[in-house]
Amino acid sequence: MRIKKQPPGMAEGDLTPMIDMTFQLIAFFMVLVNFSQAEQTELIQLPSSALAKAPEEQPEYPFTINIRKDGKILIAGRTYDTIDSLGIKLDQERQFAQDRGYGADKITVIIRAHESTQTGKVQELIKKCQDAGLETFALRVKEVVPGSSTD
């Protein structure tokens, strides 16, 4: 009796579920990725606070100012060497807001200062903003990481 020898078959895995999961992951990261650097920059290490909580109401007209460790100011990606050089920019921002119907009292200046910045720099910035007619400020801090203590 002649027995035909069957060639060993190759095991083929079904890749369809893997491709589905890969597409799911891509969609997840595409939704989450944020290329905007306007508000946050890695140069600024915010101080921590146990009371850090996202504000319940977003400000009507937020205006973010970053202060680096060396005291330089970052606004919308542009660097200003000294606080005195901000005068024109602050006036422009206030005017821009007013043109869009927001009074100076509706502008919230969000100050993101590096934790090692001198407090005097922050106070100088606040004074400069006051001179430009801005009066509402928010000092931004980051959430305390569980396990670390600020007490």
């Binding site: 921590s48 850090a52 090692s116 001198q118 801090v141």
Partner: protein, 171 residues
């Protein structure tokens, strides 16, 4: 004439090579993983500091002067001394931030809501120019509130401001 039928008896379909597509998909996935950034939660301490204009007339009734907190700094920017100035005089707490919070708690009392001290009280912070900002934020945190044993937020001062700096003040 016999016509040979070449090929298998099955229907020939158009084969789509999936391998390059999977390669590109993995490239995209790696790109998004590398550019993904986990952002830490951020919060705000609100400060309202209008440019003070002198007001005519007599002071408001029931005007409560602000509690004044002075933060003195070491040359390296760390906290050297915390001094609270209230009606009874100056009280020095050294570098004990918890004592500052306890003072604020005692100042506020237990009453909350409209008309209470807590709703009206204001604190004015006078920090040395060279004091590290993180130390100032720590003081603000202690003055703003705390979480009690049940993790409920107990609010203390809601109105916080900085002492106006004189012209030309610098470090």
């Amino acid at each position: 004439m016999k016509i040979r039928h070449v090929g298998s008896g099955e229907e020939e379909g158009v084969k789509l090579e999936m391998t390059p597509m999977i390669d590109i998909v993995f490239q995209l996935l790696v790109f998004f993983i590398m550019t993904f950034k986990i952002v830490t939660q951020e919060g705000d301490f609100n400060i309202k500091m209008p440019q003070a204009a002198p007001r005519a007339g007599s002071p408001q009734e029931n005007f409560t002067p602000p509690l004044k907190v002075k933060l003195e700094a070491n040359p390296n920017g760390t906290i050297a001394n915390i001094v609270v100035q209230d009606l009874s005089g100056d009280i020095s707490y050294g570098t004990d931030f918890k004592a500052l919070r306890a003072h604020a708690q005692g100042y506020m009392g237990d009453e909350r809501g409209p008309g209470s001290i807590q709703s009206e009280a204001e604190v004015e912070i006078d920090a040395d120019y060279r004091l590290r900002y993180s130390e100032t934020v720590r003081a603000i945190t202690m003055l703003s509130g705390f979480h009690d044993e049940s993790e409920n937020l107990v609010k203390l001062f809601e109105k916080i401001k900085f002492k106006p700096q004189p012209e030309g003040a610098g470090g």
